[in-house]
Amino acid sequence: MGDYQQRVILAKLGLDGHDRGIKVVARILRDAGMEVIYLGLRQTAASIVAAAEEEDADAIGLSMHNAGHLTLGPKMASALSDAGMDIPLIIGGIVPDEDVEELMSAGIAAVLGPGASAEEVVATVQDAISARDEA
């Protein structure tokens, strides 16, 4: 790990305004020593790609509570790959188990469901970053 501080972008994509979870996740990741850049509400795929580029992010976390994940998740993943960016994308929120496979095959690195502990959140982000680094 060394002294390198991992940089994680967190954002709410689309209209969904449920931001309790993502703010808690922001603090969890910060407490674990990561640098967190929270973009806030009503982000678009384009605004997230731009921020990831500018901040040289190691991972992107999106929070989704409005059942739009099967549309918006893959859309975000392809926006990243269209921009030639290989940054792990993690989705947290209300995602039924049966949708996880579809999201993973669309290029989402990991999904964090409700009730995930702080340790799981940190480990998931770190694992996603190291998996990308090893690839």
Partner: protein
């Protein structure tokens, strides 16, 4: 001593007179074993007496049970219309509409922002045509309807008025509530369009319009529910909500409205969470604080304008995705707290809501849960049955004490105006900061195991994720809705639409005129929700929250 005894006697006599005037349900008010019980116990303060700590009516649920109002909405207007009719057939006594995210944000289904969100978390409404479908074959002169919408509330209210008119029902017959509580949007739910001050102007226009034209309508449901869901404590929920209420009162008074008139039309919406006695104390404190402030600070003289009437919903955030069936027990306990707290209406959450929108079966079980509380437990026989308990009275006082400390802070922040203090608290991040801190504290407790959430960090055996039947809203809803919107747009008279939209912009530019009539005229031309929102946005601008963790 002597005069104190007299006062107690007078309080009881006054209550008895009031109670005798009330119409009482035909029921046996006795225990399951046949022991008759009194309508209330205690000898100091009685229900229906200022400051209403013990309930707003002298006879409480002996006259009328709370309204069992189940929140529903998904897919197309036709889908939700079927669910509404099902709920009414099953003994539901009021409708409550959940709109999808684009509708809540003033966006049409064909907006690029709407992609993936149409009909997902509620019903999609773009034009009057959707509203016609939503309330088809439902008699709007007898049913009471609640609409949970805030940013574009004026447009949805206008559509409701227009649908009723088509069916020969006039605005003064319409009963219901529109949430229309924009202040808590900036604090918690984040479904705003315009900045706080112009939003307050729209709301004041709606208060004026409904006070004059819709005497049975509640133009604002001042909502703590979302504040709590976003992570606040019980006392913060209480204080922020009532402070928002004071803000609407100050705005209406400043606009020349009579506090006794519009005060009667305000209602509240609270969360019922799992800490049983804290919740009951919160409900009791809410009534007492509201009555005192309305009387002492805002000069209300009509007792009806001092009453804190409220709807309650069980805590969605308390529901677990793990072992979802056990949520039925949580909902039952939270529903009981709401009943003991004296709620006027109640939505009980469905056990599967941590996973998806509720299935019809789950919604039925949730309704049955509150029916059990109402019809089997006997808690409805006696008003405020916990009043006088040293713990409950202490908790009520403690909730009030914490809330008053927050009011003092806001009053300070606004130099003697709660409204200005609230605007300032929104602008300086006070509310979102306090809520985020409380949410994080709670999460830390759960994570460390100091707070047990059954099924999540303790007692985790027995979860069976394979065996779940979830409501899925497919992409066909979006396709259907886009086609519907296109059809409506192609058939309407575009000239009439344009004229109506320009008129809205003109009225928005003139603070002395009321926006409601112009918006009602516009919806009748089948102007879309987003077109109407944009017609005001050009004058009012938009609000973007600073991203603060």
């Amino acid at each position: 001593m002597g005069s104190e005894e007299n006062q107690k006697l007078n309080a009881r006599e006054a209550w008895e007179l009031d109670y005798q005037k009330a119409s009482i349900r035909d029921d046996n008010f006795e225990t399951m074993s046949g022991v008759p019980v009194d309508p209330v116990y205690g000898d100091d303060l009685f229900p229906g007496q200022y400051p209403y700590t013990r309930g707003i009516y002298p006879s409480m649920y002996r006259s009328r049970l709370w309204t069992m109002r189940m929140f529903a909405g998904f897919g197309t207007a036709e889908d939700t219309n079927l669910r509404f009719k099902e709920l009414l057939r099953n003994g539901g006594t009021g409708l409550s509409t959940a709109f999808d995210m684009p509708t809540l944000m003033g966006r049409d289904s064909d907006s690029e922002w709407a992609l993936g969100e149409v009909g997902r978390a509620g019903v999609a409404v773009d034009t009057l045509a959707d509203m016609e479908d939503l309330f088809a074959e439902i008699d709007l002169s007898t049913v009471s309807t609640s609409m949970t919408i805030n940013g574009p509330a004026a447009t949805l209210l206008a559509m409701y008025v227009a649908v009723a008119e088509q069916n020969g029902v006039s605005p003064n017959q319409l009963a219901g509530t529109i949430q229309n509580d924009i202040l808590k949007e900036y604090q918690a739910q984040k479904e705003y369009i315009y900045p706080p001050r112009p939003s307050m102007r729209i709301i004041t226009d709606m208060v004026k319009y409904t006070t004059a034209e819709m005497p049975k309508w509640h133009p604002i449901s001042i909502s703590g529910y979302h504040i709590r869901e976003a992570g606040s404590t019980a006392a913060q929920e209480l204080a922020f909500t009532l402070a928002n209420g004071f803000s609407y009162v100050e705005a209406a008074i400043a606009a020349g409205q009579n506090v006794n008139e519009f005060g009667k039309r305000l209602s509240f919406f609270f969360n019922s969470h799992s800490d049983f006695f804290e919740e009951i104390g919160k409900f009791r404190a809410a009534r007492r604080i509201w009555a005192r402030w309305m009387k002492e600070r805002y000069g209300a003289t009509d007792e009806k304008a001092m009453l804190c009437r409220f709807h309650t919903q069980t805590a969605g955030v308390s529901l677990t995705a793990q072992q979802p069936e056990i949520n039925i027990a949580r909902v039952g306990i939270q529903a009981l707290a709401a009943a003991l707290g004296g709620t006027q209406s109640l939505h009980t959450d469905s056990f599967d809501e941590a996973l998806a929108l509720p299935t019809e079966d789950a919604a039925r079980i949730a309704l049955r849960t509150q029916q059990i509380v109402a019809h089997e437990t006997g808690v409805v026989n006696v008003a405020d049955p916990l009043g006088g308990s040293p713990y409950v009275e202490w908790m009520t006082d403690e909730m009030e004490r914490q809330a008053e400390a927050i009011f003092a802070h806001l009053d300070d922040l606004g130099n003697g105006s709660i409204l200005e203090g609230t605007f300032n608290g929104i602008e300086n991040g006070y509310f979102v900061g306090e809520i985020a801190d409380a949410a994080y504290r709670f999460e830390r407790e759960v994570n460390s195991g100091r707070r047990i959430i059954v099924g999540v960090n303790e007692f985790t055996d027995g979860d069976n994720p394979e065996n779940r039947n979830l409501l899925r809203i497919g992409a066909e809803t979006e396709e259907y809705q886009l086609k519907r919107l296109n059809d409506v747009k192609s058939k309407r008279n575009q000239e009439h639409v344009n004229e109506a939209l320009s008129e809205i912009t003109a009225v928005a530019n003139d603070p002395t005129r009321n926006l409601m009539p112009a918006i009602i005229d516009a919806v009748k031309t089948y102007a879309t929700e987003e077109e109407i929102a944009n017609a005001m946005e050009v004058v009012f601008g938009t609000y973007v929250e600073k991203a603060i963790v």
